[in-house]
């Protein structure tokens, strides 16, 4: 059976290019499944009027009306919107923007894209690996909702970080000391001390990976516990 390829749009609205590179790296193994319209391979305009999936990377600068309009336009064109990477999902390191900083002093306040439009799946990570995107499409195409549930639930969350992990799991006494968070932190901001994670605040880039990887936190999230 020949399945029609999914029509996928990628739009980057401002970030470090890490997520974009991850998507490009994932593409060779996805070519049989998706047709990717990515900014590197097009001139200005989107190739199509409608897409099955739009992958959005980067956070939304709230002082840039052009970006906010573009997000709304993508939402109308795409059946499913995926926020890819921590900036798009939880605003990540962009949370630290406060205006007047180089290289873009005009940027003052970033929000995750679900502050602007409805998002269907949020995949955090700084950046998420190419394999992650390949996995996502595998489960998405198979309609495996159980596997994708965590990312579906994450789509309604605007902020997730090591701080939330400490607040929600450690200070509430729910931590069982498995060490998943320590292994999942890309900046080594988390160290297990006395079998409990300790957060070096200055190192946390608010990517949310530790929270998503914590078995307790992800189980509660997946069960529909509000964040």
């Amino acid at each position: 059976m020949i399945m029609e390829k999914l029509k996928v749009l990628h739009v980057d609205i401002g970030g470090c290019e890490g997520c974009n590179v991850s998507i490009i790296r994932a593409y060779p193994k996805l070519m049989d499944l998706i047709e990717l319209d990515i900014s590197y391979l097009r001139k200005e305009e989107y190739k199509l009027d409608e897409y099955d999936v739009a992958i959005i990377t980067g956070g939304a600068c709230m002082n840039e009306p052009r970006i906010l309009e573009e997000l709304k336009e993508i939402r109308e064109k795409a059946h499913t919107v995926v926020a890819f990477g921590s900036c798009a999902t939880f605003s990540g390191i962009l949370r630290f923007c406060r205006g007047g900083q180089e290289p873009r002093p005009d940027h003052r306040n970033f929000q995750p894209i679900n502050s602007v439009i409805k998002v269907d799946y949020s995949i955090p990570g700084c950046p998420p690996t190419p394999q992650m995107l390949q996995s996502f499409f595998k489960f998405y195409i198979n309609g495996d909702e159980r596997r994708l549930r965590l990312f579906k639930v994450s789509a309604d969350i605007k902020k997730l970080s090591g701080f939330d992990l400490i607040d929600d799991i450690v200070l509430t006494g729910l931590c069982i000391g498995c060490g998943a968070c320590e292994l999942s932190c890309p900046t080594n901001a988390i160290k297990l001390i006395d079998k409990r994670p300790n957060l070096v605040q200055e190192k946390c880039i608010r990517c949310g990976t530790c929270y998503i990887r914590c078995p307790r936190a992800s189980q509660i999230l997946s069960m529909g516990g509000a964040k």
Partner: protein
């Protein structure tokens, strides 16, 4: 093949009652039928895996992560643990130090969830999911906040940590083997000494694993194995063919496993109401 999908038990490919054929495995203080040990010995000897990462009880209720590469090393680790070690973080170091390419991990549902999610969703470049071949999860009612539990045993029953030989779940009682005697505690009484995180956990069997293992009261001496995918099914079937395990259908104990799973879910929901 049953292919039942139940949120409570996760994906169920097949359910079996299994017993090791190896006398020495059965003689050890294994939790039930020794099936997990036997399966892993099989996988090691056939070269399907190059190591098993699991926990070994050291002293009292403390445990540490260890790598077993041979039957003998594996036998050393058999039995219940009742505590948790910072497993995930040690695991990576162990795998890298020993340069393991295909490992089986024996763990609890929460750890299985971590490994399962890492394998399915590699968020980080430093993930090692592709090296984890089999995730074996043990049925779990929770792990002890062991400082509190040991203190309780000492204060109320005069049992010292170093004298505890084994802890076995029997029906609604927890049997503490210490010195030459056995203390039987109603399970409800020890719930307070479980970690709070375990009291809100909803996963009894380890739905993210490849194989879940545990036991039911009505079939003591046998291990209940739940296979969750084709890979797990093939391991179990070929281990039987090569005489490492004895195997029979376990459909009739499904109800018992479900009951325990429901109890854990109900407990979690109750506790969530006042803990969250």
């Amino acid at each position: 093949m049953m292919s039942v999908t139940d949120n409570l038990l996760g994906n169920v490919f097949g359910i079996y009652l299994v017993r090791a054929t190896d006398e020495e495995i059965l003689k050890r203080k294994v939790a039930s039928g020794g099936a997990v040990t036997a399966l892993l010995v099989y996988a090691l000897e056939k070269g399907l895996i190059d190591g098993v990462v699991t926990a070994k009880r050291t002293e009292g209720l403390e445990g540490q992560a260890v790598v077993a590469r041979t039957r003998e090393e594996l036998l050393e680790t058999a039995g219940n643990k009742w505590s948790i070690v910072p497993f995930a973080s040690r695991m990576k170091a162990k795998i890298e130090e020993e340069d393991l390419k295909n490992v089986a991990v024996v763990c609890l549902p929460c750890q299985a969830q971590f490994f399962g999610q890492m394998r399915d969703f590699p968020l980080l470049e430093s993930d090692f999911g592709e090296r984890v071949k089999y995730i074996v999860s043990l049925f779990c009612i929770g792990t002890f906040a062991f400082e509190a539990f040991l203190n309780y045993l000492r204060m109320k029953h005069g049992i010292m940590a170093q004298d505890i030989k084994d802890i076995v779940l029997k029906g609604d009682f927890l049997e503490i083997y210490h010195g030459d005697s056995v203390l039987s505690l109603p399970i409800k009484e020890v719930y307070s000494y479980l970690q709070a995180g375990c009291l809100v956990c909803t996963d009894y069997t380890g739905t993210w694993s490849d194989i879940s293992a545990g036991f039911v009261e009505s079939e003591r001496g046998w291990t209940v194995l739940i296979t969750r995918n084709l890979k797990a099914e093939e391991l179990v079937k070929s281990a039987e063919k090569d005489g490492y395990i004895e195997l029979r259908d376990g459909s009739h104990v499904m109800g018992e496993v479900l009951k325990a799973a429901r109890e854990k879910l109900a407990r979690a929901q109750k506790n969530m109401m006042y803990l969250l």
